[in-house]
Subunit: 127 residues, 2 copies
DNA sequence: GATTGATTCAACCATGTGGCTGAATGTGCC
DNA sequence: GGCACATTCAGCCACATGGTTGAATCAATC
C-alpha cells in the first residue's frame, strides 16, 4: 500500500519486457485490434492473452473501447514517449562512442591528406 | 532449451523495469562505480544489490572490470540504444498526436482571432 | 599463515508472473 | 427466454524474482 509510489516507468518497461506484448504493440501500430485478433498469433489461450492485454492497459500503453461485444484496443503512445525520453538521457553515451570512432576515422583521413567529408552530427538515429 | 531464441530486448526492458536498477544506471552515467558504491543508496543487502548488478550485466547494460578486490562497473550503452531505436518506431504515433493537437489549436486560434495563450504542457515527472 | 576487504554463493522465503482449464459475464439476435 | 459470441474471472500450477542471512572465495598485506 505504501508501495504505490512506484514510477510509471516500472509498469511500462515491465510491459515491454515480454515479446508477446511487444508483438501486440506492433500489431496495434497497424490500427485497432480486438482482443481475439491480438490473441490469435500468440499460440496461447484467450485468457492468457487477455492477461497480457491487461498488463499493457495497466501500463497505459493501450486504451480499450467496448464496442458491442468486442473490446477494441488501440495504441496509447504517451508512455512509450516517456520511456523513449528516459532512454534519450543516455543518448550522449552511445553517440559519444560514435564520435570517438568518428574522430579516429578523421585522423585516418587526415593522414591520407585529403579533407574529411562534412559530418552531419545532430542526426537522430531514426530507424 | 528451445526458448533461448529470446530477444535481447527481453532482458534489456526487464532490467529497466526495476527502479533500483534504473537508479544504478543513472549513477553509472556519472562515471565508474564499484559494487559497494552502487549498492550504498539502495537500502538493501550487498548480496541483493549484487543480484541487480548481475541482471544489468546479463542484459549487456554494464561491463565489469575486476580491479584488485573491487569490481568496477561502467555503462555499456549499446543495448540502451537498441531499446531507444525500438521505441523510436512508435515516435510517429506520439508526434502525430501532437500534430493533431497543434492543428486543433491553430483552428481554435483562427476562430478566436487572437493568439492562443502559451500552454505549459510537458511537465516531466523525471525518474 | 592469518587477516582484511569486496564480492559472490547457497539456502531459503514470500510474492509475482505466465500459462492452463472451466465457469461466469454481458449483450444483441432468433 | 434461450443462444451465440467475445471476453473476463477464478482457481490452479510451475517457475522467476527480489529480498534475507551466513558461509565461501580471492588477492594483497601483516
Amino acid at each position: 500500500m505504501v508501495e504505490s509510489i512506484a514510477s510509471p516507468l516500472d509498469a511500462v518497461f515491465h510491459a515491454l519486457g515480454d515479446p508477446t506484448r511487444r508483438r501486440m504493440l506492433r500489431d496495434l501500430a497497424g490500427g485497432e485490434r480486438s482482443v481475439t485478433e491480438l490473441a490469435e498469433p500468440a499460440a496461447m489461450s484467450l485468457a492468457a492473452a487477455s492477461k497480457h492485454i491487461k498488463v499493457l492497459e495497466a501500463a497505459g500503453l493501450i486504451r480499450r473501447e467496448v464496442r458491442w461485444r468486442t473490446h477494441v484496443c488501440r495504441l496509447a503512445p504517451e508512455p512509450l514517449a516517456a520511456a523513449h525520453d528516459w532512454l534519450g538521457f543516455y543518448e550522449r553515451f552511445w553517440t559519444e562512442r560514435l564520435d570517438i570512432l568518428d574522430r579516429l576515422l578523421r585522423e585516418e583521413t587526415k593522414k591520407d591528406d585529403h579533407p574529411a567529408p562534412p559530418q552531419p552530427q545532430g542526426e537522430k538515429s531514426d530507424d
